[in-house]
Subunit: 360 residues, 4 copies
């Protein structure tokens, strides 16, 4: 008689359609199907495990997620502390600011006549439009704000906290920047120079000599010092890009100065790129282990999917499953002045320090 193979343990359970299934029920029924559906269900589990463990949860976001309608999800994740630190492209923060300022992106078509759009000064992002005139007013608004600041270097982390505060005081509206400000969640933007926020800062120089200086290397030091102070970390990545690598780099750089750091304990990425061309965005979490970016026994999953499908489902499921975990969660407490602190410990931006004494 045939002996059952050790490989055949857990049968696939076909998804059973039913009326009225909620997001978490959908994901529960996707746990034992295959391919990216199963991976998305696994992502739900891993995120819950992150919330139950004592880890600093980094969220990276790249791609046009804010313009594309996901900014209030990210805001929700920040405000309710599903995550502790955001690393974003500049565009996502800029498009968030655009809407928080009361303006809109618009439903468009990927088959638009781009010359006609250009005539109307409409900027297209695949199937989504925005007014260039309104974008110019944002640039001006950012430049004006930057001119109100003391003329010195700012890390993006400090600048974005101040910007979020100004935006909150001006609008009182929810968004990524304002929620991060209110929840004391730090935001890093390593490629700020490649964004309209950077353009706004560059225009500040036109208005006031010495304005618009950013200490981007200070962000590296701060992010690594944060990991040195709280060496247990988790990484959630939407879309790859500079945020994905910056989160990993913080861990790798921290390890250089502290042997308590051992790579992320949990990692979850929702990406559309594939690994076969060698780019970082599509690189696997297995590969990340070779670098020590990920602990070799980390719980991890890659979901190959557009975040505009995967994230609404995932975040809605967490809205049911996470609250009890959030209630018990030991989350890091930040202050986000010129000198950042975490749990009372200073996090310098000008030198690496493995301090354990509380900040004064």
């Amino acid at each position: 008689m045939k002996k059952k193979s050790r490989f055949l343990q857990t049968p696939i359970e076909p998804f059973a359609v039913e009326e009225g299934l909620t997001a978490e029920a959908l994901l529960a029924r996707m746990e034992r199907i295959s391919f990216q559906g199963r991976n998305l269900a696994t992502a739900h589990h891993i995120w819950q495990r992150m919330l139950q463990d004592d880890v600093t949860i980094f969220l990276g976001m790249a791609g046009a997620l804010s313009a594309g309608g996901l900014r209030l999800i990210v805001s929700h994740l920040i405000l309710n502390r599903y995550v502790d630190c955001l690393v974003s492209t500049g565009a996502n923060l800029y498009h968030d600011l655009h809407e928080t300022r009361g303006q809109h992106h618009y439903v468009g078509s990927p088959h638009a006549d781009d010359a006609a759009l250009a005539d109307d000064r409409i900027d297209r992002v695949y199937d989504t439009y925005a007014s260039e005139e309104e974008f110019c007013s944002n640039d001006e608004w950012i430049a004006d704000f930057a001119c109100t600041l003391e003329t010195r270097n700012y890390t993006t982390r400090e600048f974005l906290y101040l910007l979020g505060g100004h935006l909150w005081k001006t609008t009182g509206l929810e968004g990524i920047l304002t929620s991060a400000y209110r929840a004391n969640v730090p935001i890093f933007c390593p490629a700020i120079a490649d964004s309209s926020i950077g353009m706004g800062l560059s225009q500040a120089r036109q208005k006031k000599a010495g304005a618009g200086y950013i200490d981007i290397i200070g962000d590296i030091v701060e992010s690594a010092n944060l990991v040195i102070r709280r060496p247990r970390t988790a990484s959630i990545v939407l879309g790859g890009g500079t945020p994905k690598n910056f989160i990993n780099q913080a861990s790798v750089q921290a390890e250089f100065y502290s042997d308590k750091v051992g790579g992320h304990r949990y990692a979850l990425q929702i990406v559309t790129d594939v690994p076969q061309f060698g780019g970082a965005s599509g690189s696997t979490l297995e590969e990340a282990r070779s670098w020590g970016k990920l602990a070799t026994d980390a719980a991890q999953v890659s979901v190959q999917a557009d975040a505009t499908i995967a994230l609404p489902l995932l975040a809605s499921a967490l809205a049911t499953t996470a609250p009890p975990l959030l209630a018990k969660r030991k989350q890091p407490a930040f202050t986000l002045g010129r000198l950042m602190t975490v749990d009372g410990l200073t996090v310098p931006s000008d030198r690496y320090e493995e301090v354990n004494e509380p900040a004064v």
Copy 2:
């Protein structure tokens, strides 16, 4: 004052997270976001429109959807007549038969040791396993059944109806083949020769001379005659492949014999391939218009997504929104003997006919 551009009509509405959202609520909130999330919400709308119109709805399925845990969704769609005619790869029907016969696919890993799997005679489909031994028993089962049939040519449509009936009588269990049998929904399998069902049929010849003959060209004639009889059609495609083209071909071939045929009135595809390499699986629905596969004013949407994420969400939403539409729906009524009929009209497989007289 600036005049608003005609392009800026409908603002993006960011997805708002909330506890307890059901599948249809999720999709409703994805209608005014961007990218593939919006497309999936649009797919939900278009499918509802199909159900409200007097169209024959074709469903094409390619990729390892049955092994991957979606077979009971497809079965549900058939049994409740969300669709009227299935075109499938052989593998999807075979893997369906495998599970309906009480066997399983298993949760596996894409990083498995394939030599070790080969030693255990375990076949891997990305992250899913199956026993080759059990597969061989299916081949035998199919061969044995084929030997019970009169020795003549069978269209895949006729053979699969008979196979589904035998499977239903043997097991009494739900699945794609058995639901199609029970609901009198025809199944075409144009690439049956490239599948284990084909292998089973080839083994029938070993057991009985003259067994296992399939009239694949008869399927072309039958499918086009069906469109001639009911020229208003809709196409739903999961994953591209031969089913996608076969459904389009039926329309193009029908148009050759009847000027009432004018391409699908609705088209919806969930694919992972892209158009840039010229393959049919990834080809756009715009391109399909040039061929007349699609009416030039057809409602259509392409969702670039893995069906294992998109279909559970879409089908679950329809489970709430579709029942009232299904209740009123004027669906085509088939008989699936050697000579197929639709709404009482014969649908020959040996010659094209534009008949309007009822069958006798």
Copy 3:
């Protein structure tokens, strides 16, 4: 002093630009770079190894390669016996016939107005156009030819040999079908029902009762019997689809009847699909090992690339490197009548046989 890791053996050698590099020199300089460039160079090596070994080389082609300008490369590979057996989608054979009959595909644009194209009855394949009127004339031509044949079942292998012969006699021009006819290279077309060749055959029935019957299951038997007779095989796949699986299936089916068969000894695929969604087109050659489709020690490589870039480079390099190997090559000799023979052994289509006696 640091000990060098066993993993660091072969340095990357950056590609050095030089004037006048030929195709084989390009690939030689890509051997020690990374990613898909290296894989393409490896493909060149593996193909050369196939030509030096005593293996039957299968070539599978899917995607719009003939319409897209690669048909004379495939014809060249057949005529010079770089390959021994072709498995193709119907479209590639049909588009080949279209051009061999003196008609053309045309340079077009992916941004065309498809409604305008439809008005002119122009069919678009991404950036390539064809006249539907000319396509209809092909269908008619195929139907007329099919009517000249004795009314019985034909395997696609037999039918395509006859069609190629007729085309050669009519046109005297080079193409895939005519070269295969002249070189006695068998062609299988498992999804013929999903193509315009199938449509032509279906129209033959209109002209003559009993015409246009294809024994697609016979193709399974024949292809497996071929592997039983020559168990050492190699697989070259362009674009996945039904040909990729049919070539593997021949090996798997053959193994069922003969324990001398042990999977392909060499495998090379140029594909644009990825494995993460579970489809066969994008499946890895590692996965193929679990099924026994590939010998566990087979030399293999996947190139993730559009064949319209990869194949011109690869075939041009082989045009220099392969001729000495082709001169010495022990290639299988076929006759392609109703009963196929290979090296004098019969290859039945109606039953599996492990015969070793010469055909009579």
Copy 4:
């Protein structure tokens, strides 16, 4: 008689295999095939047109191209002034420095045991390895160099020029950084904070207070001022990422201050991402028109391909076709001190200026 459609003008000319074809002959035979092969041939043409026109040619590079064996191609393009200004990710410059310093990347496997690699401190980039120990020595080397500089803010453009000079003086070896230094080609690195060069700079702060400060916003000002001074531009992009957008941003920002700027006159991108998910890397050049990043009548082409296949072929073809054009080319002349100049005009980094007077 049928009238020929206006759409059917230029027949596809199938690629004809021949022994000894050189790179430019390969591309010449790909001009009238389809899909990405045709696009690559078009890219060859457009690049030649750029060289014949009076435009500033920007080259953007993202993805692991240097580690992957393409750094000497980029170096060749810089040294021979096929391009005038490089925008790169930090990783590509860092991996270039790594090899110019006499170290290597190594041929590896995507299926490696990453835990074993981690044990040996080997970092994996898909199928390519590097020694972490050597990487640490680079970081140190960069930090040491940064400490030799006056303590003030540096644009990446200025810093990378100084770094390239130091590397050239130390090694005398060819590479991207050293060629850019020797050819006076400016390099911008907008996401330097997300790279090991940034990590090296951050470590400089450990060694010397005030070291390692980068003025990333100054790069925005400088790059836009460059476009203001030479408003006719061309964009060549490998792989998307921050460089792609930064090149476009320079044009958009310049247009804000000068109405002579009207978007790139030529654009060519070789990317693996697709547009359907809304990310900038995969965005089309049509979309770029809506933003004014591209002149509405610009010659442009996107090639969907891995640069490790496409670039060796393209650069080798240009090595034959470009030299006569390069000989006649009117290329911009740069000086790259603290204050950059182009053609004798100053290019400030602290404020936007539309100056036309020569620098003093």
